[in-house]
């Protein structure tokens, strides 16, 4: 069930009216939890069991960590929850990848090893909810939060449908306190929430999905396209992935807000960053801070030598790449970002810091765009062919069979950049804020009607659902 689908609208209308019609916090939360499970079962009912197991296991572990006074017992329960979470993630997401990679490695060394072939379907959103549950037990262990007051609260923290399948990755400390008291409809900043939902919808359905139609064939068969088409496809994918993911997040935050819950910000105009380091403070912010707090800092962060800091950065970004997908393309993508961050900590970083802002943004967008080529490619072979093609290395397609992306699409890039800058200046928010209620309602109706004709009629899943 995608946020841009009609069935989500029907689902949400029922969930919304049911939620606000009920009296009492407990009843409302129970309703919302049931709705969230229905939402998740809409993808594949079998995986609901997985979600329930993860919820029950981590709730129990959290409660035991909170109760156990001796450090050994607490550590044991933390280890149990980590094993459960990473075990589930590892089995469902990485089993095939590691099995294949091990077979290939042993084969290269001259040993015959055939890994068992299990066809395991990837449960949607597993990386997101696993990171949430991990953060919960770790935070309870670190005594930063108290264990959840009730299993209902914890289950809702894990499964709240706006963030369930593609984030933002919410921490218990952000969400659990919001479950304590009943939400008030009057306290909701409706205009802000509606604005987010509308802008998210436009980004996803009107921009990202349309760009996908142009971009997909080039990445599927890069050898058939010339240099200019490859550059164009890379630039358009750069726009597509931002609109896709930030559009989803906007909708998620807006939908949660309408139900009275505040989710953390996940994007802050990342393509306007002037260093890769700054980019990661603005892109998928909740994932970045997760890796920072639960991996980078425990590894030593930047407190050790330059070598240790570099090692930590590269390790974190290799794992960040792997978190995105069980493929070497993601690992390579993480390596590129890790390497750039290491470089920026040295003399190169001082040069970058002195660049005028537009030049810095150009540098960041160049690096990130090249990274996205690795990220989007089906395999490393095709990724390198694509990257080679960008600088005319490798065999060019024969003119008789060469395909091309219409040049007109180049116009999309500056247009979208301008829209991005306009959004940064909060034109919508400022205009909407000045309107009386009736004019705001009319404006929303008119805007929605004007937007829908530009929706790509083929539904495409959000890119980040696969992670």
């Amino acid at each position: 069930m995608l946020f841009t689908e009609l069935r989500f609208l029907v689902f949400f209308v029922v969930a919304f009216f049911g939620y606000w019609a009920l009296q009492g916090n407990r009843l409302r939360k129970a309703w919302l939890l049931a709705a969230s499970y229905v939402f998740y079962a809409g993808w594949d009912p079998r995986f609901l069991l997985l979600l329930l197991v993860s919820t029950a296991g981590n709730y129990w572990a959290g409660a035991m960590i909170g109760r156990e006074a001796p450090p050994g017992g607490r550590r044991l329960w933390l280890a149990a929850s980590v094993v459960l979470d990473l075990g589930l993630l590892g089995f469902f997401k990485y089993f095939g990848f590691f099995a294949e990679s091990t077979s290939a490695l042993l084969g290269a060394l001259g040993f015959y090893f055939r890994a068992p072939a299990l066809k395991i379907a990837l449960p949607v959103g597993i990386s997101f909810f696993t990171f949430q549950t991990l953060s919960y037990t770790i935070d309870v262990y670190r005594r930063r939060i108290q264990p959840a007051a009730s299993v209902l609260n914890f289950a809702l923290f894990v499964a709240l449908f706006p963030h369930l399948v593609a984030g933002p990755i919410v921490r218990a400390v952000e969400l659990l306190p919001q479950f304590v008291s009943s939400r008030r409809f009057a306290a909701i900043h409706l205009r802000w929430a509606i604005g987010l939902i509308l802008s998210g919808f436009v980004k996803k359905a009107c921009i990202a999905d349309r760009l996908a139609i142009v971009v997909d064939p080039v990445f599927a068969s890069p050898a058939s396209y010339g240099v200019a088409s490859k550059w164009l496809a890379a630039a358009l994918y750069h726009v597509q992935i931002y609109c896709d993911f930030s559009g989803y997040t906007d909708m998620a935050i807006g939908v949660a807000a309408i139900l009275g819950y505040r989710l953390p910000q996940n994007f802050d105009y990342p393509y306007l960053a002037s260093s890769v380091r700054e980019f990661w403070r603005r892109w998928h912010m909740t994932l970045t801070r997760w890796f920072r707090d639960y991996l980078y800092i425990p590894l030593g962060g930047s407190r050790g030598s330059a070598f240790q800091t570099g090692r930590n950065l590269v390790l974190v970004f290799l794992l960040c790449g792997l978190w995105h997908g069980a493929a070497w393309t993601f690992v390579a993508w993480g390596a590129v970002h890790g390497a750039m961050l290491v470089l920026e900590r040295g003399r190169f970083g001082r040069v970058v810091a002195k660049l005028p802002k537009p030049l810095g943004a150009l540098y960041v967008n160049g690096v990130v765009m090249v990274g996205w080529v690795l990220f989007r490619s089906v395999d490393l072979g095709r990724a390198f062919r694509f990257l080679g093609g960008l600088v005319a290395i490798g065999e060019a397609p024969h003119p008789a069979i060469a395909k091309s992306v219409p040049v007109a699409w180049w116009f999309a890039v500056p247009v979208l950049l301008l829209a991005h800058l306009a959004a940064r200046r909060q034109l919508w928010a400022r205009t909407a804020g000045r309107l009386p209620n009736w004019a705001f309602a009319v404006a929303c109706g008119v805007l929605l009607a004007l937007v829908l004709p530009w929706v790509a009629t083929e539904h495409r899943p959000f890119i980040y659902f696969q992670f």
Binding site: L6, A441, A449
Partner: protein, 353 residues
């Protein structure tokens, strides 16, 4: 914010949305993206020049040659001008939308609409299972409020079981939502505004909308023909029993009867006479003959090898469902004769078969 205040804002939102989508729809070219664009475009811009139009599936589109039909009627002393608006793969509710669009334009000269009496399917006349086939311009353009109400009525009158009915109903609700929101129509509106109205297809205008399968040169049509020729002997057996099977008409569903009744009343209110036809196909159509008995609308049945052997002769057929050019000329003359008979007996509109 009070409940009433919230409700009034929601109503304002809805009205603004509906008004804007309706305005956008009027700016969109119609028809668009369908196989019959050129014919419909011509007909709309010459709506007052025709006395009779043919509406229906490929059996109609490939089965009636207006030039031959008009000439045969003129020879009987009834000079008419006709146009073929048949479309491959059309089904009854799509045809009904087309008919409503024709009537909405208040054609001053139009007296007859010859309508394919579509085969009855307890679920839907035809619903491709694949979503990519369903969710197309052709799939949703007829899903206005009336079209949706009709199709839902038919879905729930069927016997497919609740699960299947819900699935089908949801498909059509989504199609109606697509149409309501003009989903994905922005490019078309922009292209139409940029390029202006499309020029007319001279071949289609000259042929009165008729295009014989012989001229189509389409691989699917070629395959259908090859299959027919390869199984010609088998079809002889079908032909031999067709009349016998049609002689045992089946009672049509009430929903279908109501549809036909309502459609014919609507046409008559606009001073247009509906004339339903059962095309000659190599398949028994007892449900259609059942419909003839159950309604008082005029129906001309041609699915009878005994009565119309020429329509089943191999030299007149393209395949099991369609006639070739020679067959279409033959059927056009036959229909002209029977319509002339009706016109001669002025006032008679009862079932003919």
């Amino acid at each position: 914010m009070g409940g009433l205040r919230s409700l009034s804002l929601a109503v304002l939102f809805g009205l603004a949305f509906l008004a804007t989508t309706a305005s956008i729809r009027t700016a969109l070219p119609w028809p668009r993206g369908g196989a019959f664009d050129a014919r419909m475009r011509h007909f709309i811009s010459h709506v007052d020049e025709y006395d009779l139009v043919f509406v229906g599936s490929s059996s109609v589109a490939r089965g009636f040659d207006p030039a031959v039909f008009d000439a045969a009627l003129a020879a009987r002393g009834h000079p008419l001008r006709s146009f073929n608006l048949g479309v491959d793969g059309m089904w009854s509710l799509e045809a009904d939308y087309l008919i409503r669009e024709i009537v909405r334009r208040q054609p001053t000269r139009l007296r007859w609409i010859v309508i394919d009496l579509f085969e009855l399917d307890p679920k839907l006349d035809s619903t491709p299972e694949s979503e990519s086939d369903v969710f197309t311009e052709r799939g949703f353009y007829w899903h206005d409020a009336w079209g949706l109400a009709q199709v839902l009525r038919r879905v729930f009158a069927g016997s497919g079981g609740l699960r299947e009915e819900a699935r089908l109903a949801w498909v059509h609700v989504r199609l109606a939502a697509w149409r309501l929101g003009n989903l994905g129509q922005g490019d078309i509106a922009l292209a139409s505004w940029w390029a202006g109205p499309a020029s007319e297809d001279a071949g289609i205008v000259q042929g009165g909308g008729f295009e014989a399968l012989d001229d189509l040169n389409h691989p699917v049509a070629g395959k259908m023909r090859a299959f027919y020729l390869a199984n010609a002997a088998q079809y002889e057996g079908v032909i031999a029993t067709l009349d016998e099977r049609n002689a045992r008409p089946e009672a049509p569903p009430e929903a279908k009867r109501a549809e036909i009744r309502e459609q014919s009343e609507r046409l008559r209110a606009a001073n247009i006479e509906p004339l339903y036809i059962i095309p000659p196909i190599l398949r028994a159509t007892p449900s259609l003959y059942g419909l003839v008995k159950a309604t008082d609308v005029p129906v001309l049945g041609f699915n009878s090898p005994t009565r119309y052997p020429e329509l089943y002769a191999t030299e007149h057929r393209w395949d099991a469902t369609h006639l070739n050019r020679a067959g279409a000329q033959c059927l056009s003359r036959l229909l002209a004769e029977r319509l002339a008979d009706l016109l001669d007996r002025e006032g008679r509109t009862d079932a003919v078969h």
